[in-house]
Amino acid sequence: MQITGHAWTYGDDVNTDVIFPGKYTYTLTNINEFAKHALEDLDPDFAKLVKPDDVIVGGKNFGCGSSREQAAVCIKLSGVRVIVAKSFARIFFRNCVNNGVLPVVCPEAVAAIKKGDEISIELDQNIVRTPAGDFVFPPLSPSVAAIIDAGGLIPMLRRKLGTENLPLPEMKFGGGD
């Protein structure tokens, strides 16, 4: 399977406050509003122009700071399914996995990708294809990959608990830092 989109490139240490500002953590409760504020204090153009399957490309320590899961959720709701970075902050990494967003650690690809490049992620082969060449990234451990395959931790647990056929309560976020 392949995901193809344009690259949104950023530097090192992009933190969760600029991805999803703390002032919204208890006031923005409608999940449909989340995508409008994605990366708000980092790049005001992102939320306006991002297209489904575009790829966020970051430097080292991407997603550092707060544990707020909205940072991963707002990115997912903006249509992004993959983030390629030199390295990830650990809670953000887990939050991505738990929401079905693939965190790809590939410093070589990050160095090669320019803003707006069309890039493809070959999910089965663990390859990032860029105009400057192809780069292999290390696969996730099987137990972690299974969470992404299930679409996130909650859907995976519903399957495990045998509750996957129960109707989902209305999905509303809000509240959480």
Partner: protein, 454 residues
């Protein structure tokens, strides 16, 4: 077969996952002793409901404190708190701390809701805090807390460990905050990514417990999974008081009961083996350290105070889980006693808990702060993450005792945050510019002498 020594993290996660031995890099299913959430409990409850089960597995393991926006500043925040209280009542959560009791990490420490050698996972990045007592504390996301409520376990990767040794004594006016800023500045904000950061050396053991608490708290800004300080007699004595109260062991004054608690805590503590393997080791000589400041908008963008004196500030904020304790208020009062906060500058003081507020009142600190012109806030997180109670205006500069200074952190994108120790924040409030407390404090005496000479 050669038996390798184990780090604290390896021992703690072996215990939490019920295994004899685990090694760095291994993935384990751990069962935390304590599961922390705060105002985000309502959002976690909504995720929990998606799992389609009715009851939380071990409600006695939950620890919930309302602290992020307290008392509620808006209807939305109030609704959120109401949902948390409904959850607490419905699931029979006993360890719930209401609005005003204080910041979760401080309250759980004061109440001995976590113990040495235990594992606490929390929906808060500063859950690293519990390393001050030799517990394994790590931040996780909300979905993961929902999963823990349902199943009682979560996968964790056993982290590699970093060893930091602090030798010698800190000079007067230099604090554990300065040490942390220096260390993070030297190695970088991602220096501890995924790692367990252990602190050793006589410079650590000589510190008061309140000074120690700053260190694992700040390690969240180093990318650490958890941090660890070896527990000692001071830690056991501190925790034995609330434990004795809660467990109702013996008479309240019984030394015997207290001693048995202390030896119990000691025997449950975990210590790294002398031949454990570390990813890196850093050594600092405490006597060479000086007051440090983190500049906007990064915690590792650090300079010595001496290089930043004179920068105009509008707001000084003393509080948070990092530096809102009695020792911090004491340091600020030593600077502020008999002085006035500069015109055009405001100072906000938010004790980290109601116990600290009570003790500060008893000691006369609150009077000193009010006389100097400071504002006292309700125990909680205050403006740290921009919810309320001290959000800066556009273009304003805040000097703060908090742990994080990212752009927009305090609620305003175009505002600047400098991070410093409590005494430096207080001195800057008096001067209206970033200032050295050793100079401001000296000023009192010199001023008096100057007046007499005139």
């Amino acid at each position: 077969m050669e038996i390798m020594g184990k780090t604290f993290a390896e021992k703690a996660l072996a215990r939490a996952s019920g295994q004899a031995s685990v090694s760095a890099g291994q993935i384990v299913d751990a069962q935390p002793d304590a599961i922390l959430s705060h105002d985000n409990t309502a959002a976690i409850f909504r995720l929990f409901k998606q799992l389609g089960i009715e009851r939380v597995k071990n409600p006695d393991r939950l620890r919930i404190a309302l602290d992020h926006a307290v008392p509620a500043p808006t209807t939305q925040h109030a609704q959120n708190h109401a949902e948390v209280r409904n959850f607490v009542a419905q699931q029979g959560v006993k360890n719930f701390f209401e609005v005003g009791r204080g910041i979760c990490h401080q309250v759980l420490s004061e109440e001995a809701m976590v113990l040495p050698g235990q594992l606490i996972l929390g929906a808060d990045s500063h859950t690293t805090h519990y390393g001050w007592m030799g517990a394994f504390g790590a931040g996780i996301g909300r979905s993961e807390v929902a999963a823990l409520w349902a199943t009682g376990e979560l996968w964790l990767r056993v982290p590699e460990s970093i060893k930091v040794v602090l030798n010698g004594a800190l000079p007067p006016g230099v604090t554990s905050k300065d040490f942390c800023l220096k260390f993070i500045g030297d190695v970088g904000a991602d220096g501890g990514l995924y790692a367990s950061v252990e602190f050793h050396g006589d410079g650590i053991s000589a510190m008061s417990l309140e000074s120690r608490m700053v260190i694992p708290n700040m390690m969240a800004e180093f990318g650490a999974k958890n941090a660890y300080l070896p527990p000692d007699q001071k830690v056991y004595e501190y925790l034995s008081v609330p434990l004795q109260r809660r467990l109702e062991i013996g008479d309240w004054g019984s030394q015997e009961a207290r001693q048995s608690l202390i030896s119990n805590l000691q025997s449950h503590s975990l210590f790294a083996d002398a031949d454990a393997t570390y990813r890196a080791t850093y050594t600092y000589d405490a006597s060479t350290l000086e007051p440090m400041i983190a500049k906007p908008h990064r915690v590792d963008n650090v300079s010595p105070l001496s290089a930043l004196k004179g920068i105009r500030i509008q707001q000084a904020f003393l509080g948070t889980c990092t530096n809102g304790r009695i020792e911090d208020l004491e340091a600020a009062c030593a600077v502020l006693k008999g002085k006035q906060i500069a015109a055009g500058t405001r100072m906000l003081v938010i004790p980290a808990s109601s116990e600290i507020l009570k003790e500060a009142t008893r000691r006369g600190y609150i009077s000193i702060l009010l006389d100097a012109g400071a504002v006292i806030g309700v125990p909680g997180c205050g403006p740290c993450m921009g919810n309320h109670m001290g959000v800066p205006a556009v273009g304003e500069v805040t000097i703060s005792t908090a742990n994080r200074n990212f752009r927009g952190r305090m609620g305003t994108r175009d505002a600047e945050i400098y991070l410093a120790s409590p005494a430096v924040v207080a001195a800057s409030a008096v001067a209206g510019v970033i200032a050295d407390p050793r100079e401001v404090s000296g000023g009192e005496e010199e001023k008096r002498r100057g007046i007499e000479e005139r």
